[in-house]
Amino acid sequence: MFEDPYQLVLGLVTGFVFGVLLQKGQVSKFQTIMGQLLLKDWTVLKIMVTAIAVGTIGVHVLVLGEQASLHIQAAALARVIFGGIMFGIGLAIFGLCPGTSVAACGEGRRDAIVGVIGMLLGAGTYVAAFSVLDPFMKSMPDYGKVTLPQFTGTTPWLWAIGVAVIMTIVLMMLERIHPQDLDAKR
């Protein structure tokens, strides 16, 4: 029932830092998430794109140096597409995503607490209805646990550096169109 204590402590520490970052980034707010989905406040995208650019370089150094391994999900199209559509609809109604809703609970938001109860029921439904969902989730091609470099038969370095560079360009354009002080007024 429990993983070893060392892993549990590491998880708690990592989560604590993640929670501080989400709260200081103001993405634990309904208004910030909806500001992004209504294309007015670009805080969410700025954070995500920066995280991907920074993360991809370090994680590939670790993985290619055999200090860590990749942990990715299968590109099962029915799962990713229909799951993604449901996720997007739910996200816009709730106004918080799973990680940020837990952070919003930490801030004391009551609607976030109710939303998290809904999330638990959603997860419970997935578990209980697995045998019903399973054939449907296998109804489209599954490319397996494949990365973009593997899928295209190219080198991971090209992709890792390419993604970091493209993400940086995206950020510079974003900052030019939607400067940070516009978002920071909240």
Partner: protein, 181 residues
């Protein structure tokens, strides 16, 4: 300069870079990607196994086949950590949201009855999490952790959630809603 934790707001670039570096840390120390929703799945699987074992038979068979039995693990503690981290951060900056029952945009569209907002949050949370477990990830697990590992699944998932999320948001609030965020 005072304690940075007492500030309400950090630059999104600083926060994003922090999450990027935190992902190095999680791979280097635990060899795991940051994610949230598997912990919700495991929690309910454990509860349902105890309360109504017949409900979870086919799910558990699949997880055993994959060698991923539900348990209280690294990611479960990570979710707890997110709650505590946000609690401490909001306490230290005085950015508590206990008073506000209904966010301004929602109030503009649906009025200030908390029960309506709670209903929306519940339904939205339910659909979102069911979708996350079908897709096997969320904004953290797919759109950040999966994307930075260059996973094909995640680079399909991330644009879908943004496009559908934007479309749904405009459907609910319209262009006029932009004046209230």
């Amino acid at each position: 300069m005072g304690n940075p934790l007492s500030l309400k707001h950090w630059s999104p670039y600083l926060v994003g870079a922090g999450i990027g570096v935190l992902s190095w840390f999680s791979f280097a120390t635990a060899d795991k990607p940051i994610g949230i929703t598997t912990a919700f799945e495991y929690t309910t699987a454990l509860a349902e196994s105890a309360a109504a074992p017949y409900l979870v038979q086919s799910y558990l068979a699949e997880q055993t086949k994959k060698g991923k039995e539900p348990k209280i693990d690294w990611e479960w503690m990570l979710v707890l950590g997110v709650f505590l981290g946000a609690y401490v951060s909001s306490k230290m900056s005085g950015d508590r949201m206990v008073q506000e029952r209904v966010p301004p945009l929602w109030r503009w569209r649906f009025g200030d009855k908390p029960i309506l907002r709670y209903g929306g949050a519940f339904a939205g949370g339910f659909i979102m999490m069911l979708g996350a477990r079908i897709a096997q990830g969320c904004t953290s697990g797919h759109a950040i952790s999966g994307a930075l590992q260059l996973a094909l699944a995640s680079w399909i998932f991330a644009p879908i959630i943004f496009i559908v999320g934007i479309a749904t948001a405009f459907l609910i609030y319209g262009k006029e809603g932009r004046a209230h965020v």
